[in-house]
Symmetry: C2
Subunit: 216 residues, 2 copies
Amino acid sequence: VRIGELSRVSGVPVPTIKYYLREGLLPPGVHTHPNQADYNRGHLSRLRLIRALIDVGGLSISTASELLAVLDTADLDDWESVGKVQYALGRRHVPDPSQAPDQDAGRTVDDLIARRGWRIRPDSPARDTLIQICAALHRLGHDDIIAALDRYAEAIEPVAAVDMSLLKDRTNIAETIEKVIVGTIIGDSLLSALRHLAQEDAARPLLRHTRTKRAT
Amino acid sequence: VRIGELSRVSGVPVPTIKYYLREGLLPPGVHTHPNQADYNRGHLSRLRLIRALIDVGGLSISTASELLAVLDTADLDDWESVGKVQYALGRRHVPDPSQAPDQDAGRTVDDLIARRGWRIRPDSPARDTLIQICAALHRLGHDDIIAALDRYAEAIEPVAAVDMSLLKDRTNIAETIEKVIVGTIIGDSLLSALRHLAQEDAARPLLRHTRTKRAT
């Protein structure tokens, strides 16, 4: 289809589509005439993925672009590609990698990983991120949140188990990688929204200073 | 202290501090001379909070500014202020509120809330966000993630319970509000990092196609 039709079906304005094409987020269409290109279903799915990452996942254009580049350059015959995408996703949050790693925070995180028995590579970006987060929480005086790390880590394992169950039995690497990207980026927003709802429910008796706690 | 000293102690460059002052994220210092202002410990804590929200929480300047405005205008004699801050935090993710709400997604979310027995106000921003997320996941063809909503909701309740335990027994409303902001924004990054680590551990047997699953 032509770009106007792609815009109509996707609901994305033509200038925005042209911007994504220029920035390389969307691969070029097939030129049928010098000034006319043809777009297919693959372009429509990619356009929906871009919008979901930006609008729902809250990614910047440049972060979305980096992630899609990982997707586009992944070796689709090698399952290790899935892990590489996961690492690329983890790196998007590492705050200020130029800052010297905080030794206390590093120990806190490595002790936590050891206590949980998690097998984590030393170059894991999620480990770096968690160290920076702990250092920031300590600087802000929120050591009580750091003290709750074990409880948070224990509570998050069933969440990760649901994540992994959605990847099980997949045989197509490209499809698996898209699931990892969507499940991580949109999944973060989804879990944040669910956490807010669960908090709202849990906060009612607390905020009202009553003791009408519902048996669950 | 003067602005140079505030910069030295906080590690935030003077031009950045001036920018935060201009944008209203940081309240003005007390003018001791026409061209000289004095900053106190309150300014230092606020500066650390701003940096944590932006660098660790990944917020934009404008979102951080909106949240801090809610903190600054909250009625510190009214516990309902805590709920108002929570709603302001929930709204930061609502994608494109101009879009017509998706009826199917709305039903999916309300049914989920009913099944969990969560007491949620109809104007809850987290409910709106979750509806938009479900609509996006459906458009993207990831209905399997929507089908896992009940399992994610069940898994998130213990996380929210840890959140609430950190607010229990607080008597100072301003302090509680800061805890809610930090716990939500930096907490989202923290949970995301923990989820990545738990996934990395859980993914090893899956990616290697082995059956050496460790007993937990």
